[in-house]
């Protein structure tokens, strides 16, 4: 991309909520059950069936809205969004349109070491579609398939949509924004945001404009992505495409695009002319959602600690740098892990070093979520304490950690079995010290002549003879005692 252009990105995030039951009926929300097990006349759209709003879903949506500093509107309504597709049994989705649950919020996030702010346009509620499985054919899509099957278990799952203003300045910022927004939602306990299961999906709207321009260019929409990496890749591909078109003097077509991660390119899904006319109108089967201020206040008072607040607290309480606090405090899993380690009597700083160092490296290598690694907070705390107590050297401790990961073992057992313990026994070390002193007459001479630096060499010799296990401080002390005599 040339430097004359800047991208403008707006995002939509869809999150399936972890309510016990569906948005408009009493069927259980589950994963991985037999197809069509959790269905009823309402979510199968049988004739005469009527929706009833799940109050817990409204609470969860309101919690998200409050965490994003939105105004939860005292009155909001549902609309019908009409289109035909076999995964939508009523042939309309009950959604919110021009009177959503919450509007006008903002979210502060960190990208490239800078704190950025993105305005939130709205948070609204809707229901998820069913799952289609297409048999036969080559594309895995409905066109060309032999037949298709519908699994209505997912149909009617509560879904919330968070829509931003076009405030995001780069693909990297978009990725950071979404990661931190996902952390926030997880933090609220309203959704696990499991990406493999498609519990969270994103759309991105992107346009480019000359740097410094206040106007927005024509945007394209990238639909239905469920990986942070693909989202960034898609934007990284789409922005230069738009710039190239504009620099050639052409105009951008407003269209919906599909990103193919295999080719790294975006291709049109449908143009504005082909865009659906959803014929939104107010859902007559539901009454307006009326929210009382007292209830909003109660939700606000019972919100869990949110990542941004926790980062500040970590800086304050544990004396961490902002960079460290961001790593440790941004997601609940890692933050809880870290605080457990500290709570077991480990110093805040060494705990931070170990959690961000060995533990995070292990999680990344194994592809695990914080808290689901092979080393429990209790074991890591014991290991760090062994280091502070001088029982294990720092370098040996890293070896111990690797064994703890591989064998899910207690650190003391590893130290003992592998003989990785530090030798802090004065009697045992005295012999080695005496030997080194005896073997190094020249250095001893130099030391006694006042060349203190030689002590380092002598310590090294002792460490060598003990296989690195000698307690360096003790060796130091014993050597001085022997030489100063």
């Amino acid at each position: 991309m040339t430097e004359h252009w800047e991208p403008v990105i707006g995002l939509e995030m869809h999150v399936e909520l972890d309510t016990r039951t569906k948005m408009f009926c009493g069927c259980e929300v589950t994963k991985g059950d037999e197809p069509n097990l959790h269905t009823c006349p309402v979510c199968l759209a049988h004739p005469g069936a009527l929706p009833v709003v799940n109050q817990r879903a409204i609470e969860y949506a309101a919690r998200i809205a409050l965490a994003l500093d939105c105004t939860v509107r005292p009155r909001s309504i549902f609309h019908r969004k009409n289109y035909f597709y076999p995964d939508l049994p009523k042939a309309y989705q009950i959604s919110q349109y021009d009177q959503p649950l919450a509007t006008d919020g903002s979210f502060e996030y960190w990208a490239g070491g800078e704190q950025l702010r993105c305005r939130i346009n709205r948070v609204h509620m809707e229901e998820d579609a069913a799952k289609l499985v297409h048999a036969g054919g080559e594309t895995g899509r409905i066109a060309g398939s032999d037949y298709s099957m519908v699994d209505f278990n997912r149909g009617g799952t509560p879904l919330i949509e968070i829509v931003t203003e076009p405030d995001i300045p780069s693909p990297e910022a978009a990725r950071e924004f979404l990661q931190q927004l996902r952390n926030l939602v997880v933090e609220l306990g309203v959704s696990e945001c499991n990406m493999e299961e498609g519990q969270v999906r994103w759309d991105a709207n992107v346009s480019v404009r000359p740097v410094g321009s206040a106007e927005l260019g024509t945007r394209t929409e990238l639909k239905n992505m469920n990986s942070f990496r693909y989202l960034q890749q898609a934007l990284d591909a789409e922005i230069p495409r738009q710039v190239a078109i504009l620099e050639a003097g052409d105009t951008i077509a407003q269209e919906t695009l599909h990103f193919d991660p295999d080719t790294g390119t975006t291709t049109p899904l449908r143009s504005k002319e082909e865009a659906h006319d959803y014929r939104y109108f107010p859902e007559p089967d539901l009454v307006p959602v009326l929210v009382e201020q007292a209830w909003v206040d109660e939700l606000r008072a019972t919100q869990p600690e949110l990542p941004a607040a926790r980062v500040e607290r970590f800086i304050e309480q544990y004396g961490l740098s902002r960079a460290d606090a961001l790593v440790l405090g941004s997601s609940r899993g890692l933050a809880e892990y870290y605080e457990t380690v500290v709570g077991l009597g480990v110093g805040a700083k060494p705990a931070a070093n170990w959690v961000m160092g060995e533990y995070l490296a292990h999680l990344n290598a194994a592809g695990l979520e914080a808290g689901h690694g092979h080393v429990t907070a209790e074991r890591l705390a014991k290991l760090v304490k062994l280091v502070s107590a001088g029982t294990v050297s720092t370098s040996a401790a890293k070896e111990v950690f690797a064994v703890m990961v591989a064998e899910r073992a207690e650190p003391e057992d590893v130290v003992e079995q592998r003989g990785l313990g530090q030798i802090s026994d004065t009697a045992a070390l005295a012999a080695a010290v005496a030997q080194v002193v005896a073997d190094s007459p020249a250095q001893v001479e130099q030391y006694r002549a006042g060349k203190q630096q030689v002590l380092g060499y002598l310590v090294g010799q002792v460490m060598k003879t003990t296989g690195g296990r000698a307690n360096p401080q003790l060796v130091n002390e014993l050597l001085r005692r022997a030489l100063d005599r």
Binding site: P41, L44, A45, H46, P47, G48, A49, L50, P51, V52, V53, R80, N82, F84, P86, P89, K90, A91, Y92, I142, A143, S148, V150, D277, R279, Y280, F281, P284, D285, L286, V287
Partner: protein, 507 residues
């Protein structure tokens, strides 16, 4: 036992006194069905096995089943789902649909041990005013078989009028209970919107639809209404009535102020209907009430607004009939689009298609404000008209229908003329108000209906007034099943669709 005259109140007394058994009572109706159903064709599905079995069960377990409605035979409009008995909405698209649950209102009367006789004919998806839009067959008015029974609850109205049911449930979206009740010479009531659960009522226009009773007396109407009202957790728009429905006993109308909206009388009322209406208004005064002129200035816009709002809602409500999960599916579809197009093209009748298209158009981008948005504003104005009027009067009276029963086939090619049938009934639906129609005499040998509309939740006031008037009117004519000529055209009839139904639905 005269099936044409027996009322639920008497039937209940006979049952309680042991003068008749529930099985014998059911037999009265089954016999009458045998005699006249081939002429009237009020039902799309009879459930005689259920009727016989369940009425016997009521007799056997009379102690346990001595509810206020136990053993009283009922007909149910075929747009209320009944588990185990096909429910078709008189449409080809649902000709084979077997519900997996039962509508709340039906469940309530079943729980009270009424005995279901069968499911009644209707205009397809309740769209029509003559029951000629049934995909299966038209229903005939028992007062003159060459005329229509009104609609869309024409099957329920004709069944009650013809003595083929003691009483019936219908639904009213723009007059679909009151207008057929008027044309068939019986009582029909549309309760306040929300008073009766719509759960299991196959939706036509969700913001207008209400289930209500069709009966042979105002007392029976109140009795049945008592047992179907109530807040239902499956219907978010349902409400608890502020006071329970009382059985009416009033004989006078002392202190009751009745408003006569001039705009309704300007709407092309037939002279014979006008004459019966004026006589009934005079009776109001004789009973101690006062009648005053009132103005509902937006009346002329009610009909056009209704014909935007109802089709708009219908266009979405009927979108679920897509051939994917149940009901009719076209043969050998080439792909998904072909399946949608042919299933719906073949499955819906012309009036339903007409309204789906009107509604789809009215909601389209660029037209929404001009049509749907404006119609909703008119709806508010109609509501405000009533609110203003009810500041000065307790009830509003009008003819139920501008005409008596019209000849079958006379309006099928003229949708606008057909739509005019509901000109006096539609405003109450737009405003969500309760309204009743009672018979007030004959014109050319055909019944005339008198409508009373009240404020929201004024069911008891309406029923009391209607009860006093009913006695004063003393309407005691019964249908003659004469045929003054002109047969109606035959409808589409799927194989086996109008057969007797073996399932044991209620047990």
């Amino acid at each position: 036992m005269d099936a044409l005259r027996l009322r639920a109140r008497e039937a209940k007394r006979l049952l309680v006194d042991g003068e008749i058994s529930a099985a014998e009572l059911a037999k009265v109706y089954l016999d009458q069905i045998d005699r006249v159903e081939r002429k009237v064709k009020a039902y799309v599905r009879l459930t005689p096995d259920n009727t016989a079995k369940y009425s016997t069960k009521v007799d056997r377990e009379m102690q346990a089943m001595r509810g206020p409605l136990a053993g009283l035979p009922i007909a149910i409009k075929d747009n209320m789902v009944t588990e185990g008995v096909t429910t078709t909405c008189a449409s080809k698209i649902l000709h084979n649909y077997m519900p997996v649950y039962t509508a709340t209102a039906v469940r309530q009367v079943w729980d009270d041990h009424v005995v279901m006789l069968g499911k009644t004919n209707m205009d397809e998806f309740a769209m029509g005013s003559s029951t000629e839009n049934s995909a299966f067959h038209p229903t005939h008015n028992p007062w003159d078989l060459s005329t229509v029974p009104g609609g869309s609850s024409g099957g329920s109205a004709a069944a009650v009028a013809a003595g083929e049911a003691l009483w019936a449930l219908g639904s009213d979206t723009g007059g679909s209970i009151r207008q057929p009740a008027a044309l068939c010479g019986i009582v029909g009531m549309k309760p306040t919107y929300g008073a009766v659960s719509r759960y299991g009522l196959i939706a036509f226009a969700s913001s207008l639809d209400q289930i209500g009773p069709l009966t042979r007396s105002v007392y029976d109407c109140a009795l049945l209404l008592q047992h179907i009202v109530g807040r239902d957790r499956n219907d978010a728009t349902s409400v608890q009535l502020p006071e329970p429905v009382a059985l009416p006993a009033a004989e006078r109308l002392e202190g009751v102020r009745v408003g006569i909206p001039q705009e309704y009388l300007a709407a092309g009322i037939e002279p014979g209907v006008r004459a019966r209406f004026d006589e009934t208004v005079a009776l109001v005064e004789q009973l101690g009430g006062t009648c005053v002129e009132v103005s509902l200035p937006h009346t002329e816009y009610a009909l056009p607004a209704y014909y935007i709002i109802a089709p708009a809602e219908a266009s979405a409500n009927l979108a679920r009939f897509d051939g994917v999960r149940y009901g009719y599916r076209c043969a050998d579809p080439a792909d998904i689009l072909d399946m949608y197009e042919r299933t719906r093209g073949e499955g819906f009748g012309p009036e339903v298609k007409r309204r789906i298209m009107i509604g789809t158009y009215a909601l389209s981008a660029g037209y929404y404000d001009a049509y749907y948005g404006r119609a909703q504003r008119v709806r508010t104005l109609v509501r405000d008209d009533f609110a203003r009027a009810f500041g000065a009067v307790d009830l509003i009276a009008s003819p139920t229908s501008p005409t008596v029963a019209f000849k079958a086939g006379s309006r099928v090619d003229d949708p606008l003329a057909m739509y005019m049938s509901d000109i006096c009934t539609i405003p109450a639906n737009l405003a969500g108000l309760p309204a009743v129609s009672i018979p007030c005499g004959l014109s050319d040998g055909l019944p005339v209906g008198f409508q009373l509309i009240g404020p929201a939740f004024s069911e008891n006031l309406i029923l009391d007034a209607a009860h006093a008037l009913e006695a004063a009117i003393g309407f005691d004519a019964v249908p003659t099943f004469r045929d003054s000529g002109t047969a109606a055209p035959a409808g589409w009839c799927p194989e086996g669709a109008i057969t007797y139904h073996p399932e044991d639905a209620q047990s």
